[in-house]
């Protein structure tokens, strides 16, 4: 299946230097163009898994393949290509947006890939248009609202034309309107997405498939509607739906 899979993780196990083991043999495959939610309580190993996808963390056992290419942390050339293919949007946009203007920040990734001149400008314009933030290109990131910064953060990785977009808690700290706008932006993107989130209704709205990670292992993998309707599963892994929300009351996508 390696030909049309965006992401293949097999037998991934990892322990931090202080001895704390975060992952115990994770297996998952995400096909090209799929949208998958990664659910799990705090401390389940979600962030650890995400940082393995582009080779920031390594040294455990198991393999990660992105679009058929294996992540080999020692190999600088493949690592550069892996980091182009895996676009991670971090939780705090202030960590992600570090350049003086929005335009510079969106250009940072593609410029590191060696793009210059009109080709680079084209990439930046394309990425900002995709998140509807073209008009703020020349403003400094700290003058934007939180929701705008989150969308610009998405643009910074879109500009690298990733194989897979990985979003870490994309709806945290957003007001309901910004949350809906972000949904519309993500829904319109034609790229494989892995959405790490505690926001179960958002997962249901955006992702047809969900994977539950708990205690460093995959404990469930299926249609989001089915996963969220399994009350015993949710209770066993500290996942909770918001008060009054019934996943069966909305049509599955």
């Amino acid at each position: 299946m390696s030909g049309d899979a965006s992401l293949e993780v097999s037998g991934l196990a990892f322990a931090y230097a202080d001895g704390h083991q975060a992952l115990f043999g994770v297996d998952l495959t995400i096909g090209r163009g799929e949208r998958v939610a990664l659910l799990g309580p705090n401390g389940a190993g979600k962030t650890t898994l995400v940082l393995h996808l582009n080779g920031i963390l390594s040294g455990g056992i198991g393999t990660v393949r992105v679009g058929g290419m294996e992540v080999r942390p020692g190999d600088r050339e493949t690592l550069r290509e892996i980091r182009r293919r895996v676009g991670i949007v971090f939780q705090d946009p202030d960590d992600q947006l570090f350049m003086p203007t929005v335009r510079d920040d969106v250009a940072f990734g593609p410029a590191n890939l060696g793009l210059r001149g009109p080709e680079l400008d084209q990439r930046v314009a394309e990425a900002l248009a995709a998140v509807g933030m073209t008009e703020v290109a020349d403003r400094p990131p700290h003058h934007l609202s939180f929701g705008q910064r989150r969308r610009v953060a998405v643009a910074t990785v879109l500009a690298m034309r990733p194989e897979i977009l990985v979003l870490d808690e994309p709806t945290s700290n957003l007001d309901p309107a910004s949350r809906r706008e972000l949904y519309e932006v993500l829904d319109a993107l034609d790229v494989t997405q892995l959405v790490v989130t505690h926001d179960l209704p958002f997962a249901l709205q955006l992702c047809p498939r969900s994977i539950v990670l708990s205690g460093g292992a995959v404990v469930a993998d299926g249609a989001t509607g089915d996963v969220l309707a399994d009350e015993a599963l949710l209770a066993a892994h500290r996942l909770e739906l918001p008060y009054g929300f019934d996943p069966r009351s909305v049509a599955p996508r």
């Binding site: 550069r80 202030d94 570090f98 350049m99």
Partner: protein, 251 residues
Amino acid sequence: MSGGHGHALYRPGDSAVHRLPAHVKVLALLAFALVVVATPRERFLAFGAYAVLLGVVAAIAHVPARVIVRRMVVELPFVAFALLLPVVSQGPRVDVLGLSLSEHGLLTGWNILAKGTLGVVASILLAATTDVRSLLAGLRRLKVPDRLVEIASFMIRYADVVTGDMRRMRIARESRGFEARHLGHARVVAQGAGALFVRSYERGERVHLAMLSRGYAGSMPLTTSAASRADWLRGAALPLAAAVVLTAVML
């Protein structure tokens, strides 16, 4: 926003001075300052001529005089020092308006005041016509070490974020009834500063992760274009004119 994020000094415009590449302007400023400093303090006429030259640059750049005067406030401590010198200096004394002042002190004070003011006004003109981003790119062009430019760039980007953290910590302290009333409370404030340092350090690590994830390999990509010969000639106009003035008064 506090306005302390470094963009407040820039006055957007499209004059010949604005369009000049930043590194050309930085070098022109440096050369001008060197000429000014090299001028003997007794050549009063030369300093007047330098002031006129800066006036011409300000006019071309459309920077109004009141903006320059308002920003010259940063120079006040030096002005105070320069005014003090004629009173406290030793040596032969002269009477000015009934005050007995030191001749040597008068000249030294004038020297500091004249050269300092010219330097400050030239810097104000640079800051008013160059946005922070081009200034940083200009410094890179001038082969200022990448690390220093990156540190300056991050400082500008994160000044607001860190002051925001600081403000929230102060509000949280005060909301729980804390008021710094005597020296014993310095400990609490110091702990706050320590926590702020740790937080900023951790943010630094997260920013670095985000940079690595987008292909950062040790140096920022350079995306500005080089200066043309015409740019260099235009930039050289100010220091060259100043050098001509200096030569004229020395002959």
